[in-house]
Symmetry: C2
Subunit: 220 residues, 2 copies
């Protein structure tokens, strides 16, 4: 693949085909990488993988498009890189000893605090093909199993109805917590409000913690 000229053999073109002043930026690889990653998060969150455009990412980052390939090899590589970074940031999301209704409430509030992250998670579900292509699979599973364990503990303590499968309940709560992001069309249709506005999201998050309490998920 490393052949020099593709069509014409090596005519040593010495014409000065360069504009006189390419004002190159101050070099800072770490910063450049970060700019691209930030722009990529925004773009992938907004349009999903298929809808995202590398040209838009480069423009948003204010760098030359080629740097995407220099740093990340491909669009796919860039996508992997942002979920990698995601995993690291996501660890200190909610202290695990927080009461469950409050944990749930905070998850729902992520729609305000971290809309891109929630959208990435939602896109991930629709674009999901199987655990093998999902770099975030194992860590996410672990995080959520801990949540399920807490639900189960409440059940074993007799606060939550015995008929409920803790894992299913956890999934329902997570899905419900993401609704302001994943189902804005439904919400706007039924309530007529801006489903991503602070007012509604806060109200909705409160309601979700009420639901959790009604089910018996509050502290003993």
């Amino acid at each position: 693949m490393a052949l020099s000229g593709t069509t014409l053999p090596g005519v040593p073109t010495s014409k000065p085909r360069r504009s006189p002043k390419p004002p190159e930026r101050q070099r800072d690889p770490e910063r450049t990488r970060g700019l691209i990653l930030d722009a990529a998060v925004a773009e992938f969150a907004a349009h999903g993988y298929a809808g995202a455009r590398t040209s838009t990412i480069a423009a948003r980052a204010g760098v030359n498009q080629q740097l995407i390939w220099y740093y990340f090899d491909s669009k796919e590589g860039l996508y992997q890189a942002i979920s990698e970074r995601w995993r690291q940031r996501d660890r200190e999301l909610v202290p695990p000893d927080t009461p469950l209704p409050e944990q749930i409430r905070r998850y729902a509030l992520e729609a305000l605090n971290n809309p891109d992250g929630v959208r990435l998670m939602a896109w991930g579900g629709l674009e999901y093909t199987g655990p093998d292509d999902d770099p975030d699979h194992a860590p996410r599973g672990e995080r959520l199993r801990h949540f399920v364990d807490q639900v189960r503990a409440h059940q074993q303590a007799g606060r939550l109805a015995a008929e409920l499968d803790p894992a299913c309940l956890a999934i329902m709560l997570v899905a419900a917590a993401m609704a302001t992001t994943s189902l804005p069309h439904v919400i706007e249709g039924v309530c007529g409000v801006d489903p991503r506005g602070a007012e509604f999201v806060q109200h909705y998050a409160d309601q979700l913690s009420v639901l959790a309490r009604l089910l018996g998920l509050d502290a003993p």
Copy 2:
């Protein structure tokens, strides 16, 4: 734009550039339209609007690509057409006088009976920009408001906790009902089962109706 040849002027090429036998199918416009629509539903459901390819749709339908433009004008027109058809099919989904836990259960079972429809709804949420670009907006709102009314009736009859906002609860339930479709990566991560398999979907749907009953949404 309607100039004939772009690069070369009109040389009346009379060369027989046609293969001898294009074995044309039996003509049946209604059927052809239907084939395209079916293929489009599958493709849009699988990859979303941006990820869908008109060439794939035509191939899946077994027709010439051009027929998409002949019948639907554009990719966008085709997309509108499938949501139009959707609206009609969706009417007789669940009889409105069914008890709420059972309604919810059936919604969750749509993941098995009509996976493409559920996925289209999920894509719609992420691709949603506002009510104006959403042809399904008004009818969906109406359908769901009716559901909310039923929830409210239970509340006014004193069976559902007064603190809960019926609209929010309805949204939570709908979001939860879609989880096997919208969050397969989460489910597989936490349960380790195939989130779209019949076994899990049925279990999950049952659990959802249990939840509805626990909240007081069963018949008086």
